[in-house]
């Protein structure tokens, strides 16, 4: 039994740490980072390279002016905006603020870092929500099919085959065309098109567990079928679910980002990694940072889930 506490493989530990960091980014980040869609000056719609700084002058009439450089002169501020130098008199200026865009801005002048952080929330939340939905659905179907057997088993498994036969993207496109996409609908759509693996896994587990002696023993001492199923078979059958879930979370995050990339994700002003990549495609020649940062974050997250799944598998192997 001492192997139960076997150490996690180093890679899996790092992966877990990385996932924790991304989750922290998604939870804490938006509290610290200003919302990316508050463009204070619509005229500052420029693609800014990572690390560039921008000045904002708050004018007396409440409007904002964005400037590339600014210097104090006798009568006020000399600013350069869009290549032109102009002087704003001191009496007009209410406040001055500078902001550095560490990861640059997109073509609408929005901070890429802020969008990444806020997008992390959308991508992770959708991935997790879809994971919960697909796991619940798959467990339910798998339990029913494995426990009941017979006609119900055949029908449910054929249904799983049928859903599995439709390429997921096509299915999701059809569903989003039928329903108006929102965060909840999207999670249901993605979740309900990816439950088949769980169902097969649970069915196989239940089928083997059903034959085991402890089930027979429970039957002999008079336990009801429902009780055996819910209290004894289900907990045992759930062992491989953790690893499967870790692996699937990565897939679901990828699906969400593919959908957002195609423009079927959460509606526009809300950032998601996939929609950021889609924005980046339009300006691929001039702004590499719009593709590289969300792409790396997305790939890193999915990689971390895959490594975590591998670690879980290793640990479960020791457990057995």
């Amino acid at each position: 039994m001492k192997r139960v506490c076997a150490r996690w493989p180093a890679l899996a530990r790092h992966a877990g740490l990385a996932l924790g960091l991304v989750a922290g980014l998604a939870i804490v980040g938006p509290l610290v980072c200003p919302a990316p869609d508050t463009i204070r000056d619509p005229s500052s719609t420029a693609l800014l390279a990572p690390g560039s700084q921008r000045f904002f002058l708050l004018l007396a009439d409440g409007s904002t002016v964005a400037a590339e450089t600014m210097a104090p002169v006798a009568t006020g501020w000399e600013i350069r905006r869009q290549g032109e130098v102009q002087v704003v008199s001191d009496t007009d200026v209410q406040g001055v603020e500078s902001r550095r865009f560490w990861l640059g801005t997109d073509a609408l002048g929005r901070d890429v870092l802020a969008r990444l952080v806020w997008g992390a929330r959308v991508s992770l939340a959708l991935g997790l929500l879809a994971l919960v939905i697909s796991t619940l659905l798959g467990t339910l179907v798998g339990l029913a099919a494995g426990w009941a057997g017979g006609a119900l088993d055949t029908i449910l498994m054929r249904l799983a085959d049928a859903v599995l036969a439709v390429p997921m993207l096509v299915l999701v496109l059809l569903l989003t065309a039928l329903l108006r996409p929102s965060l909840g609908v999207l999670a249901v759509v993605i979740g309900s098109s990816s439950w088949m693996g769980v169902a097969r896994l649970m069915r196989a587990q239940v089928q083997t567990l059903k034959q085991r002696d402890f089930v027979l023993g429970l039957r002999a001492i008079g336990a009801s079928r429902t009780r055996i199923l819910l209290r004894h078979v289900l907990p045992n059958a759930m062992t491989p679910l953790g690893q499967d879930a870790a692996l699937r979370l990565g897939d679901l995050i990828l699906i969400e980002s593919s959908l957002s990339f195609l423009g079927f994700g959460v509606p526009p002003p809300t950032a998601s990694w996939g929609s950021m990549l889609a924005d980046g495609q339009a300006t691929l020649g001039s702004g590499w940072w719009l593709v590289v940062f969300p792409g790396c974050l997305l790939a890193g997250t999915v990689l971390a889930t895959a490594l975590l799944a591998e670690g879980l598998q290793e640990k479960l192997r020791h457990f057995r």
């Binding site: 049928a162 496109l173 996939g274 020649g285 792409g295």
Partner: protein, 319 residues
């Protein structure tokens, strides 16, 4: 042998029927019917009623379903709302480019994955092996559209070697070798994208099964007889490890099709991906239903081929 093939075929037909029925049920049970989807909301109620009657929408669901199924079996999938042309003709136009792209992508993926895995299995736990393991995991984790954009950035924008999108240049010759060459150049980046993203998972799987085979008695016996590691892997372990790969490839088909649809969108490839994306944007239900059926048929057919070829190749599963 023949009875197995027939049984599998019957099962495939059942799956296809289930897909068709499920799709129809989804579309007809979703809120709002065809009348409210296509007609202008300002249309007077009486005119809409007449429209519904003209198109048979007032008939009971079962009658509508049966006539739809009969038409679908005959290959008539209705008229696209967006293009005002038969869905069948639209799909028939879009299918060949997609089949070309997906087929070549599958080929690249398989050959590349096998080569990497064999390379790794010949020197297990070496530095190269470890580096390639991480690389294939990374390839699995990268979204295909991001890989595609990366390749475009490097090879089209930075180096200017390869075209970034479409199937042919607008200035391509009308026919002959020049046209073929132009087409081939346009194929390189999308095929590489599909191949690279698929390779990772395949290489990981094959490496695992190659290493497993290598600890089997027959490989150890071959090694003990003085067979080199290279030879043992290539001629003894590989054929046995490659066999389950056929099934794995068959099962990975839905992912492959979805992936190539995405890649098509990145590269403005005139295939099913673009067609279905436009259909989804325009809420063109008949076209989407047709696309779902064709996609499912491709997957089912691929699985069937994989099953039959496994039973042809492997004497153990032959009844």
């Amino acid at each position: 042998m023949r009875s197995v093939a027939l049984r599998r075929m019957a099962a495939s037909l059942v799956v296809l029927w289930a897909v068709a029925t499920g799709t129809y049920a989804l579309v007809s049970l979703a809120p709002g019917d065809a009348a409210s989807r296509i007609t202008d909301p300002r249309l007077p109620a009486a005119a809409r009623e007449r429209w519904r009657r003209d198109f048979g929408l007032d008939r009971p669901l079962r009658a509508r379903y049966l006539s739809w199924l009969a038409a679908t079996v005959r290959g008539d999938m209705g008229i696209s709302w967006q293009h005002r042309r038969p869905v069948r003709a639209l799909l028939a136009e879009a299918l060949p480019p997609t089949a070309l792209l997906t087929g070549l992508g599958l080929l690249t993926e398989t050959l590349g994955g096998l080569a990497i895995a064999t390379w790794q299995a010949m020197r297990p736990r070496s530095r190269v092996d470890r580096a390639l393991t991480i690389t294939s995991l990374l390839a699995y984790a990268m979204p295909s559209f991001a890989v595609g954009m990366g390749l475009v950035w490097v090879f089209s924008y930075a180096l200017g070697w390869l075209p970034a999108s479409h199937m042919l240049s607008p200035t391509a010759a009308a026919s002959g070798w020049a046209r073929l060459g132009d087409g081939a150049l346009h194929l390189v980046l999308p095929v590489a994208t599909i191949g690279l993203t698929g390779m990772g998972a395949l290489a990981r799987y094959t490496r695992g099964s190659l290493l497993e085979e290598q600890s089997q008695g027959y490989v150890l016996a071959a090694r003990a007889r003085g067979c080199s590691r290279r030879r043992a892997v290539l001629t003894h372990a590989l054929p046995n490890a490659a066999l389950p790969l056929v099934t794995v490839l068959g099962l990975s088909l839905p992912v492959l099709v979805s992936g190539s649809l995405l890649v098509e969108v990145v590269f403005a490839w005139p295939g099913m991906g673009q067609l279905l994306l436009q259909a989804a944007l325009a809420r063109d239900i008949p076209l989407l239903m047709g696309g779902t059926l064709v996609g499912a048929a491709a997957v089912v057919l691929g699985n069937l081929l994989a099953d039959v070829s496994v039973s042809l190749l492997d004497p153990r599963v032959r009844p």
